[in-house]
Symmetry: C2
Subunit: 212 residues, 2 copies
């Protein structure tokens, strides 16, 4: 397995986002200085990240945006299709299940599940909502390796046990629960409110217009 | 302004989430070892973070969960109410505008805006969707300092210019745009797809059941 430092790994999504934004503006090259200013990190750190990715810049031009973007996508496996199921058809589950942008990253939602009889059978994006009782059989039949969890906390662990038992290896967890999974299963805890915390800290300390 | 290292600051939301989860299970104390195992970081780093927060553990018991949680909330300003407006009443905007969990963090959504005539006037959670044309006047009248942006990328910068002109100091950006803001305005780029990237990398490299 190719590997880079944890901190560099954490920066890859932001690099990717910035490259996309610049590409959308018609730019072909980006400099380490530009990347460092946008990311608010040291330019030498950007250069080290690029070296880790085995990406070289051109003198006076910087890095090829397309080449760097493709390199990150290849490194992260985004050029392969990952089929995933959304469990929990509330507002957030609906937002995730119907978000068209995921396809640019190779993420394909192939089913949506809920336990609410009022939601089951309703259309959601490209899918009819299925009952959670069918989750395990769909995972097995379609050989699904990833689920996206947006259910109430009381039922989260039970659903994970079912999904992992059926063969799921990766869990994108939008619940506030600390899930127990066996070794070999990866959980990503998505804590949306964390972003607010950073802004709250800023607002608390900004009085007078200072910056953090 | 109180300050801690950037890395420690980034960990505060996860600490807070873990403390909430343990509190929900009826636990009163948590050890640096437990925190280090859940966070997958070195135990000495946990101890350093606690020292930075001026939190002391008890021998053989660990840290008081309630005291540590309150300390983090105080540090981040979560005990004060932050009023915010959601701009963009799509699925994600609706999920954010109606998410009851935010109130535990002091975040209060006090209005929802959209430019789509079909959405304007519709009820969304506790609010009727207002036209974006009224955004600046509402920001000024209610002295709003934060907006949550979930609009299409084409209109994102224009809305930010309006909001910042009206007095907004903090932007929680769920669009994929790199927003330009004047000094003194803080933007938090929320890149939900970043979580998927980490899982994609795991799945790409897991063949055979290995772990990263």
């Amino acid at each position: 397995m190719e590997s880079i430092s944890k901190a560099a790994f954490r920066r890859l999504p932001r690099y990717h986002q910035i490259l996309n934004a610049f590409e959308g503006l018609g730019r072909e090259y980006i400099s380490s200085r530009e990347l460092s200013e946008i990311l608010e990190i040291n330019e030498t750190l950007v250069r080290k990240d690029m070296a880790d990715l085995k990406i070289r810049g051109k003198q006076n031009q910087g890095y090829s945006i397309a080449a760097l973007r493709l390199r990150i996508e290849d490194f992260l496996g985004l050029q392969e299709i990952t089929e995933a199921l959304v469990v929990g058809a509330g507002h957030l589950g609906t937002a995730l299940a119907t978000y068209a942008g995921f396809e640019h990253y190779g993420l394909k939602i192939v089913g949506v599940f809920d336990s609410d009889p009022e939601k089951i059978g309703k259309r959601q994006g490209a899918h009819d909502v299925l009952p959670v009782s069918r989750l395990a059989s769909v995972i097995q039949r379609k050989q699904i390796r990833m689920i996206i969890l947006t259910v109430p906390r009381e039922v989260a662990q039970g659903i994970i046990d079912t999904a992992v038992g059926a063969g799921v290896l990766a869990v994108w967890n939008f619940t506030p629960c600390e899930l127990n999974v066996p070794p070999g299963v990866k959980v990503r805890n998505e804590q949306i409110v964390g972003g607010f915390m950073a802004l709250s800290y800023y607002l608390k300390n900004v009085s007078g217009g200072g910056e953090d």
